[in-house]
């Protein structure tokens, strides 16, 4: 009896200690990133019917007695406490009751000045989202890196696994993983440095490739795989890192030369073209159209850099691609003119359904991730109409986007809030071009993003898990020689 009392006392003490360690949610001073009543702000967002539970917390610093009631159809759940954390089974019940309609939410809590209550909705789309998201976790570290990893997150749960990491590659640099049209069985990324190469995943079969030939100005940098799987389109860039002396742009990166080329993954050939080897024009960020018959890319007249950096305005252009021969056409159409808009287009991405082209617009240059003014724009390829996505963009860079395999969702990395760390936000696109308010990737710990000191770099949607893991990449890095291209 005596022992059990002592045990109870210890347990009570530990419980008290635990309670005392709840996370401090206070907004830190004026103009902070927590103006919203809840974080992440899931009010009036549209979510897919298969997303993981939306965990969040109330930001009112000195409030208490938090109650949140969720209702959808016949289902109603009441969750108490500052942190709103779901049991997965109940969340799924709620989601299935709300699919295609709304979850009504009532929030209430007490403050020193009286009770507070407000109602809001979560719109649940009947369109599911691709189940997997790959991204590189990286500290925003100015040219250098440590402990890099590329992860694959299951969007229906909180499951995460490494598909390449520093542990298996002796801390090598690795660049972001991209799917072709959201396909888990067709993707690639780069392992840099000794033993590295482009890792190509075709149907789960992995190859390590040296995508460089004698006539190219650099190894391949930005690019994409053709939907047919045989070709890749890439830019080759001479990249110069620099810094701004003023403001919050921090690091700037610009090209002093850039060209386009095609990789033939079946013939181990790099195809270069005289029309893209001109010194007076820079070409970068090439991607294929949904049907694979065109290449979209960004182009600008060469400038005297870094002096003319702020005059570097890239246009969005399109050129035919012949998937039989792997050749690029000779004349390009301008879809969006940088000089006419007094702005610069970056990172075009065509939706796999062929309807949309999503790209980012910055004041100048080719490195929008540190440009706070950088916003997403949507081009309707069927009408040429451009949407500025005011409801999607926020102060802080919004870029590095990718489409779901059905073209109904896109994800992008936004530095909203702190201006420093990229976080993945998702939007739904309706056939009429209306785009929903973005929602932040839910995490098990509602305070996850407050503690996070790494950026989600190039979040990319996949309809299936990629068929490899970090250990296999480590083995390939160590044991498999890179195939040479010529």
């Amino acid at each position: 009896m005596k022992n059990s009392n002592a045990l109870l006392l210890v347990l009570s003490f530990l419980l008290l200690l635990g309670c005392g360690r709840s996370y401090d949610v206070r907004p830190s001073g004026e103009r902070t990133d927590r103006a919203e009543a809840i974080f992440p702000d899931y009010r009036e967002v549209t979510i897919p019917c298969n997303i993981a539970p939306l965990h969040f917390y109330y930001t009112a610093p000195d409030a208490s007695r938090f109650v949140t009631v969720f209702r959808a159809g016949e289902e109603a759940f009441t969750l108490k406490g500052r942190e709103v954390v779901w049991k997965e089974k109940r969340w799924k019940q709620l989601l299935s009751a709300a699919a295609g309609s709304d979850i009504q939410v009532e929030s209430s809590y007490k403050t020193a000045s009286g009770p507070v209550s407000f109602s809001w909705n979560i719109h649940v789309s009947g369109d599911p989202i691709d189940g997997y998201l790959t991204y590189r976790l990286i500290e925003p570290g100015f040219e250098v890196w440590d402990d890099l990893e590329i992860l694959e997150r299951n969007l229906e749960s909180f499951g995460v696994r490494a598909i390449s990491d520093y542990r298996n590659t002796e801390n090598k640099c690795m660049n972001c993983h991209i799917h072709s049209q959201g396909r888990g069985d067709l993707s690639m990324f780069y392992l840099r440095g000794q033993g590295g190469g482009a890792i190509l995943n075709r149907g789960g079969q992995l190859r390590k490739l040296t995508l460089k030939s004698g006539t190219m100005i650099s190894p391949t940098v930005y690019g994409e795989i053709h939907p047919g799987g045989r070709w890749g389109v890439f830019s080759t860039n001479i990249i110069i890192p620099a810094m701004h002396s003023l403001g919050n742009k921090r690091m700037e990166v610009y090209d002093t030369a850039s060209d386009l080329c095609i990789a033939d993954f079946d013939g181990n050939r790099m195809l270069t073209f005289p029309q893209f080897a001109r010194e007076d024009v820079f070409e970068t960020f090439p991607v294929f159209s949904a049907d694979g018959n065109f290449v979209y890319y960004c182009a600008a007249p060469a400038g005297n850099l870094p002096g003319e950096l702020e005059q570097m305005r890239y246009s969005l252009v399109r050129i035919p691609f012949d998937a039989e021969t792997g050749t690029l056409g000779t004349s390009a159409d301008t879809l969006w003119s940088g000089p006419a808009h007094q702005a610069s287009a970056c990172h075009p991405k065509a939706s796999p359904d062929g309807r949309w082209l999503l790209f980012t617009v910055a004041d100048y240059g080719t490195f929008p991730i540190n440009h706070r003014e950088c916003d997403l724009h949507l081009l309707d390829l069927s009408t040429g109409e451009e949407y500025s996505l005011d409801g999607v963009n926020a102060p802080g860079s919004d870029t590095y986007h990718s489409w779901s395999s059905d073209g109904k969702w896109f994800v992008f990395a936004s530095k909203r809030g702190d201006g420093l760390y990229g976080k993945p936000y998702f939007c739904h696109v309706s056939p009429d071009g209306s785009v929903s308010k973005p929602f932040l990737l839910p995490q098990k710990d509602p305070h996850f993003y407050d503690k996070m000191l790494r950026s989600f770099n190039v979040p990319d949607l996949g309809n299936a898990p990629v068929g490899f893991d970090a250990r296999e990449i480590g083995r390939i890095w160590k044991e498999v020689p890179a195939e040479q291209f010529n």
């Binding site: 907004p27 950096l309 503690k451």
Partner: protein, 355 residues
Amino acid sequence: MTGKKVRWILGITLAALLLVAGGSQVCFLLRYPYFRKYAAINGVSLHQARQIWGHPSEASEANMGMAVEASFENWDAVERLSRKDRHTGIGTYYYNLSNAMRGQLPDKLLDFYQPFETGLFLPVGEKSSPFVIGCAGDVWWALNYMPLAERDAMLGLLFSPAHNGSRYLRRLAESNLVKGDYEAASKYLRILMNSRADKAWASARLPENWTPEYRSLIEYKRSFLPRMDFVHGMDQTPTILRILLNSNASNTMALDYLLCYDLLTKNLDAFMADFAPSLTKSVLYEEAVLIFLASKGGMDAENFRHYNVSGNTLERFNRFVTIYRRDNGALTNLTRDFGKTYWYYYYFARRNEKQ
């Protein structure tokens, strides 16, 4: 032997072992106080620190001490710890920085080992150790150049063992407060407010809690910020210092760092272009001016007056030149009287290519 006796002996042995272990720990902490403090500001326990950095030495303890005291801007303590010249880059870096904080950078520069410009600005690159990277931003913070103070804090965090050391988070918060980027600052302040050791510090830096003294400090640091945006390379140190001076010509610390950089790299043309005799004075600068005038012409009274060259410095220079010529450029007879002059450094210092 009875069971009771065995238990008693075991108990005594255990107590003795604990006492020895505890005593040894106490001795360790007394002998290496900065090792523990350095571990704490890097967010690792003493046990982890010993696993990561091994057993400290007298030199590593001094280096960690300088890093710890610099992070709290205790410049007297930094000066005291850097006083012993161990011929290390870190030692020179903090020696120079603590002197600069007192306006004595040029006057004391050549009293100490100077590994060329790396004693002023620690090199940050692939070959730099995490310790060096962690220290590299202190000079930029002191010079009020926030882009590099922030960059080096970010890199320090990146290469620190726990990736969350308060030393770096505090610098990231404050450099953003100086820049007026409250959103970024709040990210770090919020993290720090959830650490018992940093809560009070972070709370005092929330803009609504600033004391008049802290507000004045922030405003003082803001007065040195560049007023125009320039895009520069990561390693263009003289350009960055000139950017600071273009915005605020009275930034004498930046001016002294620039002039000392020119002198340690033996770039006398740049030195003469950067030198503003009305803003800063030092015998070191007089010595450098004399080499320039002697080689390029202009050894006249007007120039001596313009560049503040004293009669004493001129007389010593003539004596140096006489011995140098007489001995055909040998240093033996110059070391005692001129070993701490710029002339001696200019003619005899050789860059250690291994560094």
